[in-house]
């Protein structure tokens, strides 16, 4: 203990650690009406850290070669102690990362936290969602099984519908006309190199933005629920009389993280086949197309939209418009009101869009 204290003092003398901790305990105050939804950001940080850790462990044995990828994953699952668990953590974690990201964005959406001056927070968060989908898509192919091979074929086919450049983009992504060894190489590079680095940088930017502007006040339990920022110059939104981040809200973070882990472990131990169905355990065969091939669940709505319209270009335009609307929401919705019940048009429209997305996903799954 004495040795640890000496080490702590040594670091403190050089970096002023006590000052940071004291500042976080008393200086960094959150709104007094802050709720559990605000802890989803911390849950996402834990998920990303878990993905990185399990990904690094998988990289120790995974071989990114079409002839060896499947057998190396089978080796991890069957011969490495706790290898199956690590693989399941990674596979289930990637899907749950999307789920929690969507929940995080929905909470921001309904609490109006994207409103000025937090447009950039929303934009970086939205790009993070796209990158998370990208990292999941690229990782999906790596085990080189029937499901991943054909789901990737279907998912990349969708890009081909973009007029003029679509076919070139598909070829660029696949490295050829078909999904093959070049696709595996490209997806591997994106999955373990470019995308994790990009996500890490963007998380840093996102956190920096939150630190600079301060945490937004939730619109619940207050009389005035309008946006306090009135197109002024930069101003940090402080919360005098609020609750300290450490230890009070940090404990809420820990509660949410523990509850997330309970759900995550329940899926890993008791419903792993939800994310690894039978076709995920058969080696990829370009000559045998399994019945009912679908992309991953978070692309099902896009997949179904493309199928729904008589022309794929119309389907694509509709999707691009929808994505643009969501991405540019802070610039479209300029109203000051943040409470969802005091802006019924927005709330009903948003709920309708969410139901439509869920409906299209379910339709895509059963179609």
């Amino acid at each position: 203990m004495i040795l640890l204290k000496k080490l702590y003092n040594w670091i403190d003398d050089r970096l002023g650690m006590r000052e940071i901790i004291n500042e976080k305990r008393s200086g960094y105050l959150l709104p007094s009406n802050v709720n559990a939804w605000y802890s989803l950001g911390s849950v996402l940080l834990v998920i990303f850290a878990l993905q990185v850790m399990t990904g690094l462990l998988l990289m120790l044995y995974y071989v990114p070669d079409v002839d060896k990828a499947f057998s190396s994953v089978a080796f991890i699952m069957n011969d490495i102690p706790l290898g199956r668990l690590v693989r399941l953590f990674h596979a289930v974690g990637s899907s749950l990362m999307i789920v929690v990201l969507v929940l995080h964005m929905l909470s921001i959406l309904f609490m109006g936290s994207y409103k000025s001056p937090r447009e950039l927070h929303w934009l970086t968060g939205f790009v993070l969602l796209l990158m998370a989908m990208g990292i999941s898509l690229t990782g999906y192919l790596l085990p080189w099984n029937q499901l991943s091979f054909w789901a990737t074929t279907v998912a990349t086919d969708g890009i081909g519908t973009i007029p003029v450049v679509g076919p070139y983009l598909v070829e660029l992504l696949r490295g050829g006309k078909m999904v093959g060894f070049k696709t595996l190489g490209r997806f591997y590079t994106l999955h373990v190199g470019l995308l994790p680095a990009g996500i890490t940088i963007l998380i840093g930017v996102h956190l920096f933005l939150i630190q600079r502007t301060g945490v937004s006040t939730p619109p619940f339990g207050l009389e005035d629920t309008s946006n306090p920022w009135k197109e002024e110059k930069f101003k940090y939104e402080d919360h005098p009389g609020g609750i300290p981040f450490f230890p009070n809200f940090f404990l809420q973070d820990l509660i949410s993280i523990s509850l997330y882990l309970a759900c995550f472990l329940a899926l890993v131990f008791f419903a792993p086949n939800l994310f690894l169905p039978a076709t995920a355990n058969l080696p990829a065969n370009p000559y045998v197309t399994p019945a009912h091939i679908k992309p991953e669940w978070y692309f099902l709505a896009n997949y179904q939209t493309l199928k729904l319209f008589p022309s794929e270009i119309i389907g694509l335009i509709v999707q691009v418009l929808a994505i643009a609307c969501v991405a540019l929401l802070p610039f479209i919705d300029r109203g000051a009101e943040k409470h969802p019940l005091k802006r019924p048009f927005f709330t009903i429209t948003a709920l309708g869009c969410i139901l439509l997305w869920i409906g299209m996903t379910v339709w895509g799954y059963y179609s």
Binding site: M77, N78, D79, R84, N248, L265, F269, L282
Partner: protein
């Protein structure tokens, strides 16, 4: 027109028809070869040509398609000889083409691959009766639609072709339990396989045991079959114990309970702070 010329014209039409048919045949062959090439499968000209033929020249391919040999890529030349890669000389004796083997040559021919079975067969009453028209491999397994050895092959219809079913029934009863175990393990392997379990070693072990067991079908020695069945059943019991990887449900339940307990403890601490 001179009758000879008329005859010539008739011949010409026949030739034209022949050429058209040949061209069509060639196109079909080229297409099937292209498909085989695309699929990375070695081109077997016997199948390419005989597929499009009718009658006794085409039927064997149709029958073969449903056989255990087709399933394992054992093609015509394995039994009939010849060169499947060279359509012009495919049926040349110089390339080892032997045509339809004589009935007495069948056991030795099949035994070229199924060596253990041949030994049991030769020592059995079936094998000893070969010279006087006794049953050969194809009597029970078929010639082109070859079926693998299974307990179902021992039945009244098959056995009564030559003798009474009494002894055959005894043999079948002695083997039923082992056959049931083999099938159950086969099903279990299929389930494990789609769960991501590496069943390669398990499959190879089962394959060896099944072959050892099925080879005995041909000995017709009830005592030996009962004795060997007991040995194989003991081996299968060891095999059926294998399967399932990772941690059990108890570990999962404990991990979830740990996470929920942690959440509760953090909640209590926070409540205390408030």
């Amino acid at each position: 027109m001179h009758p000879a010329l008329d005859r010539y014209d008739g011949l010409g039409i026949l030739l034209m028809r022949g050429w058209s048919l040949s061209l069509l045949l060639l196109a079909v062959i080229m297409l099937s070869q292209a498909q085989a090439d695309a699929a990375g499968v070695a081109v077997v000209n016997c199948i390419s040509c005989h597929t499009v033929l009718s009658g006794r020249l085409g039927t064997p391919v149709k029958l073969w398609n449903s056989s255990i040999h087709a399933e394992h890529g054992i093609t015509c030349n394995a039994c009939h000889g010849g060169d499947p890669a060279d359509s012009a000389n495919a049926m040349s004796p110089a390339r080892g083409f032997r045509g339809k083997p004589a009935a007495t040559a069948v056991p030795a021919l099949c035994g070229g691959c199924h060596m253990g079975v041949l030994k049991h067969y030769n020592e059995s009453a079936h094998g000893r009766a070969l010279a006087v028209g006794g049953p050969t491999c194809i009597t029970c397994h078929g010639s082109h639609a070859v079926v693998s050895a299974s307990i179902e092959l021992i039945n009244r219809k098959n056995c009564s072709k030559c003798h009474s079913y009494t002894k055959a029934r005894k043999i079948k009863n002695a083997m039923l339990k082992t056959e049931g175990m083999l099938k159950a393990i086969d099903k279990k392997i299929a389930v494990l396989k789609v769960q991501g379990v590496d069943t390669d070693k398990l499959e190879k072990r089962l394959f060896a045991l099944r072959n050892r067991f099925h080879a005995m079908y041909h000995s017709l020695d009830v005592k030996l079959i009962v004795q060997e069945s007991d040995h194989i059943q003991a081996e299968l019991k060891k095999t059926s114990g294998i399967g399932g990887v990772g941690t059990g449900p108890l570990v999962g339940a404990l991990a979830i309970a740990w996470a929920l307990l942690a959440a509760f403890i953090f909640y209590l601490i926070r409540k205390n702070l408030d």
